[in-house]
């Protein structure tokens, strides 16, 4: 417990000082991108990791928030009202997503979310009078919360970091709460949970709204970061990328999606500058993760770490301690 607290504090210190030891604004922006995608991946992880519901349409929810705020800002609406309306709209779309997709689980759920994501993408691409089609919508300026400018890479990074920490804190609370516990129960034994008195559908619906809300928040950040939105941000590859972030990092963990987001964003933005076929490398990395750490980077690294300690004389922890049991 103390070790865990110390690690969290070290990570917080590291994140808080990024602009101090990363002098180049480009790399500060990369870390901001990692945090934005980490929020998206964390929101997806609520469904995939804790709910056992694999969605392939979450970029659509990110897109709804981003398009809504961009559209409103481009028409002169205020920053705060635009953000609030965008989040409410994303929640409404999430509710529609949930009502339609929760008619099924497994492959059925995945296919329905994929279809809904494609409908949103198609709407952004084809409803040109509203969305400006492939040309997208430009956003005149970033918001200035409490009068603080987010125009610089450093200013925007700290804003994103605060939102990211709020996302992590809310998800930590959620997964440890009775509702989060119920969601995990519904993932493991839906039939049993219903027999115990849980309304499994409603638990999943509420989890979907929670997930949709944070996808919307990541959409707002994305829009502020790029100051431009286009249909590509909500296309199928974007949803698949978010899912890969969750799976590669480790489903059902809070750090896994963050690690997955870092991997994908770094490969896309940094490695692509040096390696022409960076997609091939990213694919190879995913294959390696699946082979050597099928549980994902974070839980897999933890396992290897413990195994390594076992090899040099310290006994590996008992399975019961490896996964902290619930009360």
């Amino acid at each position: 417990m103390i070790a865990r607290g110390a690690a969290a504090l070290a990570a917080l210190l590291l994140l808080a000082t990024v602009p101090l030891w990363v002098a180049n604004g480009f790399y500060v922006n990369i870390v901001s991108q990692i945090l934005i995608y980490a929020i998206l991946a964390l929101s997806l992880n609520v469904l995939v990791g804790y709910g056992g519901l694999v969605s392939l349409g979450h970029a659509g929810l990110l897109g709804v928030a981003a398009y809504a705020v961009a559209w409103l800002l481009s028409r002169g609406a205020g920053q705060l009202e635009s953000a609030a309306v965008a989040l409410v709209l994303t929640l409404a779309v999430s509710a529609i997503y949930a009502v339609l997709s929760l008619r099924a689980t497994g492959i059925g759920f995945l296919m329905i979310t994929l279809s809904l994501g494609q409908i949103l993408w198609g709407t952004a691409y084809r409803w040109i009078s509203l969305t400006n089609g492939d040309n997208g919508i430009s956003v005149p300026a970033r918001p200035m919360p409490f009068g603080l400018s987010l125009a610089s890479a450093t200013g925007f990074y700290y804003f994103t970091l605060i939102v990211f920490l709020m996302a992590i804190a809310s998800m930590t609370l959620f997964v440890r709460s009775p509702l989060g516990t119920s969601l995990r129960g519904a993932r493991d034994q839906a039939r049993r949970m219903a027999a115990l008195g849980f309304n499994v559908w409603l638990i999943r619906f509420l989890a979907f709204l929670f997930s949709g809300f944070w996808s919307g928040v990541s959409g707002l950040l994305y829009c502020y970061y790029q100051q431009f939105v286009s249909p590509q941000m909500m296309a199928l590859p974007a949803s698949a990328e978010a899912l890969l972030m969750v799976i590669s990092g480790g489903t059902g963990t809070l750090l896994g999606p963050v690690a997955g987001a870092a991997l994908v964003v770094v490969m896309k933005n940094v490695a692509s500058a040096y390696i022409e076929r960076w997609n091939l490398v990213l694919g190879a990395i995913f294959v390696a993760i699946i082979i050597f750490m099928p549980e994902g980077l974070v839980p897999g690294s933890t396992r290897l770490w413990r195994w390594a300690f076992g090899q040099i004389g310290r006994p590996p922890p008992a399975p019961a301690a490896a996964k902290e049991p619930a009360p």
């Binding site: 009775p178 493991d188 949970m193 027999a195 008195g197």
Partner: protein, 245 residues
Amino acid sequence: MIALELKALDKSFGGLRVTRGINFEVPAGERRLIIGPNGAGKTTLFNLITGEIRADAGAIRLFEREITGMAAWRRTHLGLARTYQIITLFPRDTLLHNVTLALLGLSPLRWNPLLPLRSQAALRESAERALARVGLDHLGNRPLAETSYGERRRVEIAMALAQSPKLLLLDEPFAGLSLEERREVQKLLASIPRDVTIVMIEHDMDVALDFAERITLLHFGEVIVEGTRSEVVNDKRTREVYLGE
């Protein structure tokens, strides 16, 4: 007061009729045994009563309240609890967590998205008491996957009892237990107060007959014999289709 009433209950899976116009009543407080050969439709009948599958026709009343079209989770809130023939628990979690889930299912706290579940001392104490009732309090922090089959059977019963049910459905609670474990479960069932009505499916006639006040014999989804222990055991049809004499 009638605890459970089934009227002309029908269920088919495709062309296979698994229950055929089942009628029976279980008065409150009674210990009822349901017997029948494999495939007679006993577990399907339980699934129909709990709402895990929906009946094609007929009616189910729980304490004189119509529940035929009601969702499974709502029936649990009316005082219905069950155990499963195939143990259906949460193997990665501890015994305490399994029982806590049973308690949480009936608590308004289950909707809370903020408070840590670990901080709910009252819930934990109730779960510990439920485990103590089945003699497993010393294993509370052990993951279920590291317990024996007999212990898991008792966890199932602890979870059902933790919900303070008015009607308890036990699906083969003695299956797979050693002689000693059977005696323990037998004692446990005997200690359940009379305000709980119990309907039990069981093949082990030695323990089941001791327990039952009335017996219903199912065959091909139909009730073919019903009555007291001696009436059912001495019935020619019971010996033909079930006791194999």
